[in-house]
């Protein structure tokens, strides 16, 4: 397995936030972690990214043990919920910041930076500052900045939660395309069921620090592990047709 979390545990002030979480995923796939607010999604992600150390358990990526490495030494990059863009740098400077620590010459870095900005459709704004662009554009800069260092694993914490509904749908498609084109492995946190169903190759559903189920969307749809999963995903209102279409029933009371 490419990414392996085994028996991760984390407590805050004596309260179990993540309990005995084990999970695996393959290379080039997109995993969605799904769960209600406060169930420990961000905490899990922070442990993979290295911002929190688990109390016990192990994190393996591509055969390498990451558990005790500091974030700057992990081949993992993160798109933060609040983006964490540098307000004193231009878009281009933001995007190429990570290359500084990977032996790139300034010119090469800028060239590559332009390519990635182009990829997310922002090549013409390379010299702008962060506060001069919109939320959706900031989102894309953060994505380009995380992907440019060619990480083995990219983590995204509710990346679309600050965007409006129409933009979310658009960004969702772009992200999926990027992920396929680059053959990138991604872990994506969300609490939007629809988003998870559409984006993911596999879904991990969490509740109060426990992993309830980890499987492909279709298999979860056909065999929800328990009642909670069923209710949480609103499975009664979804229809997965034989030809692979997912339909949602929206009841309209008269």
């Amino acid at each position: 397995m490419y990414l392996e979390l085994s028996h991760l545990k984390k407590q805050f002030d004596g309260k179990d936030v993540v309990c005995d979480l084990s999970l695996t995923m393959e290379k080039g796939k997109l995993l969605c972690i799904l769960g209600s607010s406060g169930c420990g999604k961000t905490t899990t992600l922070n442990m993979i990214g290295g911002f929190l150390t688990p109390d016990s358990g192990k994190i393996l990526l591509d055969g390498q043990d990451l558990t005790r490495l500091p974030p700057e030494q992990r081949p993992v990059s993160t798109v933060f919920q609040s983006y964490g863009l540098f307000p004193h740098m231009t878009l281009l400077e933001n995007v190429i910041y990570g290359l500084k620590f990977r032996g790139f010459s300034k010119a090469d870095a800028r060239k590559k930076g332009r390519e990635y900005l182009d990829m997310v459709g922002l090549a013409d704004r390379a010299g702008a500052f962060i506060h001069e662009i919109s939320g959706g554009q900031q989102q894309r800069v953060a994505l380009a900045r995380a992907l440019i260092v060619e990480p083995k694993l990219c983590l995204l914490d509710e990346p679309f939660c600050n965007l409006d509904a129409a933009l979310r749908v658009k960004m969702r498609e772009e992200l999926k395309k990027l992920q396929r084109d680059l053959d990138m492995t991604m872990v994506f946190v969300t609490h939007d069921q629809e988003e998870a169903m559409i984006l993911s190759d596999s879904m991990a559903i969490m509740e109060q620090g426990h992993l309830l189920q980890n499987d492909t969307p279709e298999r979860i749809y056909r065999n929800p592990a328990n009642d909670f999963v069923k209710r949480f995903l609103n499975l009664d209102d979804l229809i997965w047709t034989q030809d692979g279409k997912l339909m949602k029933i929206i009841s309209h009371q008269m």
């Binding site: 990214g49 290295g50 911002f51 500091p70 974030p71 700057e72 030494q73 992990r74 993992v76 990059s77 993160t78 933060f80 919920q81 609040s82 983006y83 964490g84 863009l85 540098f86 307000p87 004193h88 910041y97 990570g98 500084k100 620590f101 990977r102 506060h131 953060a142 900045r145 995380a146 260092v149």
Partner: protein, 560 residues
Amino acid sequence: MKSNLNRIEKGASGDALFRIFGNAADKLIIAVLLGSICLFVLYPIICIFWQSFVGETGLTLGAYTDVLKGYRTSLWNSLFTGVLTAFFCTVLSVAAALVISSSRGWVKLLLMGVILITMVSPPFVSSLAYIQLYGRRGWITYRLLNISWDPYNCWGVIWMQSISFVPLNALFLSGILTKIDAASIQAARDLGAGPKHILLDVVLPLMRPGILVTLLLTFVRSIADFGTPTIIGGRFNTLASDIYMQLVGYSNPAKAAAMNVILLVPTLLAFWAYRVMLQKSDKLTSGKGKQDTVNLKLLRCGIVGWIALILSMLFFVMMVLQYVCIFSLGFMKVTKGSYSFSLQYLQQLLKYDTATIWRSVIYALIVSFVGTFFSMLFAYYTERRNVPGRRFFDFLVMMPYMIPGTCFGIGYILAFNKEPMKLTGTALIVMACMLFKQLPTTTKLCSAALTQVPRTLEWSARDLGGGRMAVLRDVILPSMRPAFLSCFAHNFSSSMTTAGAIIFLINPGKKLLVFQLFDKVYLGEYPMASLLATLIIVIVLAVEGLVWLISWKEGKRRVS
């Protein structure tokens, strides 16, 4: 149940009163607020400008040409001191801020303790300790190292000013550090940046506007400071110390006014730049939500980290030395060159100066209560209500913050020395001067607290039937409780320690502790001076601790 009923009845009768007088009271409050600002801020400032242009024969520029001719060296000295002090002080402040925000546990407590004590210290303490430690007969220079040198020169002034302005700046800068978005720092680490690069690429650039603000404010404070050059400048005079001499010795108000106006020019320029910078800083650091403080391991930040650590350790060691010196000196006596413990000075102080002590405390308490209340009301009316000329009054209230203290004080002398408003020599003018000098800071504190009160709260009070007075009484004032504490603390410690603004307003028969202290330092009675400084610090800490305790208990009572 019964107590509930009681409350309602009381509230109802109160509202009935307000229904009758409500609108009138509202108008009256506005009138009093704006009227007193005009009288105690605008009018004195106009007086200074006016006076500087009026000679014996009418309107002239005579005073200005006199000053520019006669005080060129002082003017140059002021600028020179200002620039160098601003530079050294800012470097030290950045180092101290980095160390404070990256330290934890008891080290942090200790550092904050030192900063707290310096914040409540009277302004002449550093100079006093300087002479005692590094002077001709200094404990360190003479007794320990056995060198003899002349400490009274411009470098002493620059060094002492640099040191004594650090605490406020360090507090301001570490405030900025806590507002840096934690996610940008995490992102930098995530992309491979170690501690050194986080410091150089993210933290310092984000602090840059704050650093510029520090430079400017320090420059302004330095050129307005008359105490340090007067005490340890020797023959080195700045414009501020000349103004002091001018008024004390020759009492030529026209000339002093002109000198002040000249001093005002670089100050106003600096403040204009300050506003621009502050807006920029707010744009860069708008951390939202729960924040962890910047967790930097300075030891691992390379050479810059080491420099910061060493500089701030130097600073803190000097501060500790300074206070050890001050606190101990008042309780020692010298016999044949050796020191022994003695309560001689304390007895002397309690015998002759109890009236002064009480007067200082009472003035400060009055100013604190009235000033806090005033700034809460003013913040409310300018933030939330359509007061005519709101921007103009906002600017006016900020004025005393910008102009040097002595300048403001001279304005008061000029404004209130003739009938029908002859106030010079009264307690009222002293307290008014303190109050309006401190108003800029306290209104800012209150406005900040007000922005935390959602407007809907105000609307719901009115929606439920309360009038404007009910909004003020039931919503605004209660929600400014935290601001009350910080305003009060600021008012009280400033009132106990400011000297510049009121030095010429004090009636010689009714001294305050700070002036007693200044006199003693000036006369060379250092043990007595140290004891006075200690006393001021103890009083301020005690009163503020008491206020904090009361409001904390009150808060607990409300919760339970």
